[in-house]
């Protein structure tokens, strides 16, 4: 009975797409991390993440939005504290300080910050009687989230900084900010580019330059781009078969279980697989946006837009990177890339989307 009501209320398409993506991701991670010495690879860890994530998903789907709204500032404060901790005492890996190590567990505060920034900004924007009308008002809203942005940029994590900007822009847009103002923001952004460039670390600069010409550094930054295309392209239409990827098995593709997991899909499941993944993401994003559209009150609507913008941006940049139309930015693929913090936060966010998207009966919000 309760089940039937649940089925009637829940956006099964959205849920189904997430399930599909998580499953494909698990298979890809298994394929990418198994070896003769370790036949299960990172599967156990991934399953553990999924288990905890499912609980989070269910929990967030059940919570009323008000709970999130009330917790927004507190959550944001915690995020800032954790980000500060990372910048100061964080574990450095791959040239960036992003992780906090707590015993055997590592945790990436920037993932939590993504969600908390969305919640906070949605709250700030929703309190206003009208959307921000000019740059000054936008700035006033933006000031709230600026600390998080700066702390992330200093890690240095340029990719995640861009994610924040994407979420902010998406939310401002959906909130009704006049296009003129948004254009003004864009102008400021362009003008700031040279300054930003100088703030970038050499390896980040190189990544951007190499994107324009991978042969500049075929052994370093260009290597990933080149190898990724080779892996994906060699899958052709039907793929080489699950667990049959040679590039992957012979470990020619670096970071194949994290940032470049899409290349594993491409190699093993071919065009059919890659388009399938993109299709699942499309369903997820559209259903998410529809859910946001249906939400009458502003806070919920903006949270939905923020979440979808964030996830969508991840997908576009990550997949774009693997096929060589975007530079290497260290942004993972949601639900597929291996990574506990990201998976948990994304599943929690999906719970919120499910909550927004439920078909309400007349009996209440």
């Amino acid at each position: 009975m309760a089940l039937r009501r649940w089925v009637a209320e829940t956006d099964l398409l959205l849920l189904g797409s997430v399930l599909g993506l998580c499953t494909l991701g698990t298979l890809a991670i298994l394929s990418a991390t198994r070896s003769p010495e370790s036949p299960w690879g990172l599967l156990p860890v991934r399953l553990a993440h999924l288990a905890v994530g499912s609980v989070l998903l269910g929990g967030c789907a059940a919570l009323p939005l008000q709970a999130f709204r009330r917790a927004a500032r507190g959550l944001y404060g915690v995020s800032l504290a954790l980000l500060l901790a990372v910048d100061v005492a964080g574990h450095e890996r791959l040239g960036a300080q992003r992780w906090l190590q707590l015993g055997p567990l590592s945790f990436q505060p920037s993932e939590l910050a993504k969600l908390s920034v969305i919640l906070l900004l949605a709250d700030v924007l929703a309190r206003r009687p009208t959307p921000p009308r000019n740059l000054r008002e936008v700035g006033g809203c933006g000031l709230w989230v600026l600390p998080a942005l700066v702390l992330v940029f200093l890690q240095p994590d340029f990719g995640t900084t861009l994610v924040f900007l994407a979420a902010v822009l998406g939310m401002l847009f959906a909130a009704g900010t006049p296009l003129r103002t948004l254009a003004g923001l864009g102008g400021i952004g362009l003008a700031a580019l040279p300054v930003v460039w100088r703030w970038l670390k050499p390896y980040q600069q190189r990544r951007l330059l190499v994107f324009l010409d991978p042969s500049l550094d075929p052994l370093g930054a260009g290597y990933h781009l080149i190898q990724s295309k080779i892996a994906i392209g060699s899958g052709q239409v039907w793929g080489k078969g699950l667990f049959q990827g040679t590039q992957n098995a012979l470990q020619f593709l670096p970071m194949q279980h994290t940032d470049f997991v899409f290349a594993v899909i491409g190699e093993e499941l071919g065009f059919v697989g890659t388009v399938g993944v993109l299709g699942l993401f499309w369903v997820y994003l559209i259903r998410g946006l529809q859910a946001a559209q249906r939400t009458p009150e502003a806070f919920g609507r903006l949270v939905g837009v923020g979440i979808v913008s964030t996830i969508g941006f991840h997908v576009l940049v990550n997949v774009g990177m693997t096929v060589g139309v975007m530079p290497v930015t260290g942004i993972p693929l949601p639900f597929l890339s291996h990574g506990g913090s990201a998976l948990l936060v994304n599943l929690a966010a999906t719970g919120i989307l499910l909550h927004l998207g439920r078909r309400r009966s007349w009996s209440g919000p």
Partner: protein
């Protein structure tokens, strides 16, 4: 609260529209990605699959041993010895910074240098970091092998010059191929990291010596662990080059020259074969075998005494009195003089108001004794009678002012001046004083010891201007003769026998009773000419150029001692020692024939 699709407030309406726009944007972007995937996977899929295969297959070059260089009797002058190099396969390296720092500490090379080498190499190539590593490094690497992915130890035979500095300028040395060289030579199969000859025979005959590297196609995993051998093609070792040098005579020549800057050339006037070529200061080519360090290279190439220069052919000097052979021949040919001519030498010559002084007054001299005593006044008179242009022509006929064509790199042409030359280069007309200078080998004239040797050989063999050479034969790696060199006559100087007889008579007299007495050897009649060439700075260059035995010449020797002052004192004794050694080796039982 309103139901999902009920009436919305205007703000909501705008918001809803905008969300629809976002949906369209995402749809469009995903669509574009889909198109890109179509392009990469469907349209270009086969191409990438091929690249993927390439990842799996590694092509190993099996380096071919370089050919040996032997002297004329088959004694190895240049060989190879086994050694090991440490190399890196950049594509496979796991933790690059760790590998770089470990190798830097272990091999004693700055990290920046290692990084630069890795950056410069193509992605699938093996980059040699350090050649000829010792056993300690080898065992350490073996211990750490699993820790250092992408680091390999390869067998890399090294060039070895067992005789050190002996004949260094002739043999040359190896070095890593440079960018411009690589561009030029790639069509012949040269690749980055190859060692090629940079000087001497190593360079001149590099393609013969090189051999062909073999190829082994191996399937590997990303750790570089070979899984199986796909295909193997054996290479071919390089050919053996046999030189005309005689090691024993070379040793004698270098010993005789000692530590005096200059050159010695010993040549066979019948064939043009070079039996010995010495140049001092010299260097040890073994320094370069491993890959010379930048400081050592700077030291050697910056050395003011220029040890890398082969003074026998790469520098041109004022010839001084050895040029009088040219003047004499020119005069004899134009019949400005003959064997019976006599001249009066009061010790000086006045021309155009200027007085040109000789070393001393020789009194009345015959042609023969004028040569023997190197009387400047006589030759000035001959020079004036002949004129600068016929003088230059004779010089050119004898091979001055042009490269001899010897099979070594770096040869210079020297200068044979003419009035035209002076006008072009200095913007001044030719004065009679210039003719005087030219007649006695001073002025603008510049020659190399090798050119002088060739001239002497022409005198000795009756007018054949030969091309000197160092290559005697080429052998295949199995020892089969692939090629034997033959004498090359560049030019024939056709002169009546009296002319040859006259000049030769003078040259014999030089050693018997003239300025070249110090070159006389017991049991062999030696002929030749001394020279003490004034130089703009420092003492004159000392020359001796001669041949032996005078009646049937089989050896030409030219000695130059830079700033040696007097040819008869500094250069002639050296020639004597060389001729002595030659006699001991080639004509031990001969006795000098009676006077001609």
């Amino acid at each position: 609260m309103s139901e999902g699709w009920a009436v919305r407030l205007p703000g909501e309406e705008r918001s809803a529209r905008r969300i629809a726009v976002l949906a369209a944007v995402f749809t469009g972007a995903l669509g574009l990605l889909g198109l890109r995937l179509w392009q990469v996977q469907v349209l270009q899929g086969a191409y990438y699959d091929q690249l993927a295969q390439g990842n799996r297959l590694r092509i190993n070059r099996l380096p071919a041993p370089r050919g040996l260089i032997l002297d004329r009797r088959g004694i190895p002058l240049v060989t190879n010895r086994p050694s090991f190099s440490v190399a890196v396969l950049p594509m496979v390296v796991g933790d690059r910074s760790r590998v770089v720092s470990v190798l830097s500490r272990l091999l004693g090379i700055p990290e920046a240098e290692i990084r630069a080498k890795l950056r410069a190499a193509p992605p699938f190539a093996l980059v040699r970091i350090r050649r000829d590593v010792g056993i300690r490094v080898l065992t350490t690497l073996e211990e750490w092998r699993t820790d250092l992915r992408g680091v390999a130890v390869i067998a890399d035979p090294l060039r070895s010059y067992p005789y050190g500095t002996l004949a260094a300028h002739v043999l040359g040395y190896l070095g890593e191929i440079s960018g411009p060289e690589l561009e030029r030579l790639r069509p012949w199969g040269y690749e980055m990291g190859d060692l090629i000859g940079k000087a001497g025979v190593e360079r001149q005959y590099d393609r013969l010596l090189r051999g062909e590297d073999g190829e082994q196609v191996v399937e590997v995993d990303a750790a570089g662990r070979p899984l199986r051998v796909f295909r193997q093609q054996e290479g071919r070792p390089g050919n053996t080059v046999v030189l005309t040098l005689d090691l024993r005579l070379q040793e004698a020549a270098e010993r005789a020259l000692g530590a005096r800057p200059g050159a010695v050339v010993a040549m066979d006037p019948r064939t043009g074969e070079i039996l010995a070529m010495a140049s001092w200061p010299s260097y040890d080519p073994n320094l370069f075998a491993v890959g010379i360090s930048p400081e050592a290279w700077r030291r050697i190439s910056g050395d003011r005494r220029t040890p890398l220069v082969n003074r026998a052919l790469a520098t041109a000097y004022e010839p001084g009195s050895v040029f009088k052979v040219v003047t004499g021949l020119a005069a004899l040919r134009t019949r400005a003089a003959d064997a019976g001519s006599t001249f009066f030498c009061p010790g000086s010559l006045t021309l155009g108001g200027r007085v040109f002084r000789d070393l001393r007054a020789h009194g009345r001299v015959s042609f023969r004794s004028g040569v023997a005593q190197s009387c400047n006044v006589m030759f000035w008179q001959l020079g004036l009678r002949v004129g600068p242009i016929p003088l230059a022509q004779m010089a050119r006929s004898l091979g001055f002012g042009e490269r001899t064509g010897v099979d070594l790199p770096g040869e210079v042409e020297g200068i044979v001046p003419t009035p035209e030359y002076k006008r072009q280069v200095f913007g001044e007309p030719w004065y009679p004083g210039d003719t005087l200078n030219m007649a006695i080998g001073q002025g603008f004239t510049l020659v190399t010891p090798l050119q002088v040797a060739r001239m002497m050989a022409a005198v000795a063999n009756g007018g054949q201007v030969l091309q000197p050479r160092l290559l005697r034969s080429v052998l295949s790696p199995e020892g089969m003769v692939l090629y034997t060199s033959k004498p090359v006559v560049v030019r024939r100087l056709s002169l009546p026998p009296e002319v040859w007889a006259a000049i030769r008579g003078g040259l014999v007299a030089v050693v018997e009773e003239g300025t070249g007495r110090a070159a006389a050897v017991e049991g062999v009649r030696v002929a030749g000419k001394t020279g003490s060439a004034e130089t703009p700075r420092g003492r004159p260059h000392a020359w001796f150029a001669g041949y032996a035995p005078a009646e049937d010449p089989r050896l030409v020797v030219v000695v130059l001692v830079e700033h040696g002052a007097r040819g008869g004192i500094a250069a002639a004794p050296i020639a004597r020692q060389v001729i002595q050694a030659w006699k001991h080796l080639y004509a031990p039982t001969e006795v000098a024939a009676g006077r001609p």
